[in-house]
Amino acid sequence: MPSVTAYMILGSLLFALGLVGFLSRRNLIVVFLSTELMFQGVLVNFVAMGSLRGQLNGQIFALHLLVIAAVEAGVALGLVVYLYRRKATLDTESWSGMWG
């Protein structure tokens, strides 16, 4: 069985890739998908840390994280649909009117 180190590095790597996608993409939907990828990384880390101690706390926390991810997806996609109806574009830079 792989050790906890391997699971935690994998979880952190998924988190870092989600962070890279969040910072670098301009499409609103892909930005929110990268946020969900960060959630996946954290979920793997939680379950690994729970298994390290032999308790179920990590999995309970991961279940609540699943609830929060669903909540965030629902509200965020409602906002994305509203923003798309206002300007017919998903580009985040079209909402940059507060720059400069």
């Binding site: 906890v4 180190t5 890279v20 996946q40 298994s51 991810a69 649909v81």
Partner: protein, 251 residues
């Protein structure tokens, strides 16, 4: 391999992986995806080779390697693909690749909940919204990444710091303990039964709060989607990407 050498090798592998992801980002001009794929694969191979020293007695676990490779490759393709529908579908692949990782740690309920809730509900909602906001021709916002160098630097610097500490402090052969054999799990030997018992006994407040949170989010989403959208005459004008929305009158 001593811990200090492992830490420096980890830094080097993440620098290589960062370079690979940076070259894979969408850009205007000559495509660098070939070189990016080579660097990314080299970094991935190095990381998995590094993982072999952390395998406990019991030999090679093929399922961990396969699902780790699929998850990482699918997530890199998800963040670098130019079409958002493909990004959503690659994310479904990431979720399906994380599921065996959870099953290996004997978290069956969480694995099945992940497939049903995440891949089956949340990502289907994402695909619906992508279909609702289709733009023909394909938008320019997908063809070029915004500041890819800074993004990759930030992500992989964070990753290097976190991973070096993980490597240093979690030791080399601490295995994932078998939860079924652990004496601290109460409420039944079955994972689902144990989680159910814990949720209504120790974590009852958190369980109820999660329900309240879902209710509030549903109210919020309905409230947001019912707002009347004012009509703007600028929608049909074709403007260059940097100027989209600049001439819209304020709210």
């Amino acid at each position: 391999m001593s811990t200090a050498v492992t830490v420096y090798v980890t830094y080097g592998l993440f620098a290589l992986g960062g370079l690979g992801v940076y070259l894979l980002m969408p850009r205007i001009g000559r495509s660098t995806r070939g070189a990016g794929a080579i660097f990314g694969m080299a970094a991935l191979a190095g990381l998995l080779g590094l993982c072999t020293q952390w395998l406990a007695v019991g030999g090679v676990d093929v399922l961990f390697y396969v699902s780790a490779i699929v998850a990482l490759v699918a997530s890199v393709k998800m963040i670098t693909h130019t079409m958002p529908v493909y990004s959503a579908l690659y994310f479904v692949l990431v979720v399906l690749a994380v599921t065996p990782l959870l099953l290996l740690q004997e978290a069956e309920f969480l694995a099945v909940a992940l497939v049903i809730v995440y891949a089956g509900a949340i990502l289907v909602t994402y695909v619906f919204v992508i279909m609702l906001s289709q733009q023909t021709p394909p938008p320019t916002c997908d063809r070029r990444a915004r500041e890819p160098f800074v993004a990759v630097l930030a992500g992989f610097l964070t990753m290097s710091m976190v991973a070096s500490q993980i490597v240093r402090w979690t030791g080399s052969t601490k295995t994932v303990e078998s939860l079924a054999a652990s004496a601290t799990v109460e409420g039944g030997a079955d994972n689902t039964t144990a989680i159910g018992t814990l949720l209504v006994s120790d974590y009852l407040a958190a369980f109820e709060l999660a329900g309240v949170l879902l209710l509030i989010a549903m109210i919020g989403a309905i409230a947001v989607s019912r707002k009347r959208v004012p009509k703007h005459p600028v929608v049909e004008a074709a403007e260059p990407p940097g100027m989209i929305g600049r001439s819209v009158p304020p709210y």
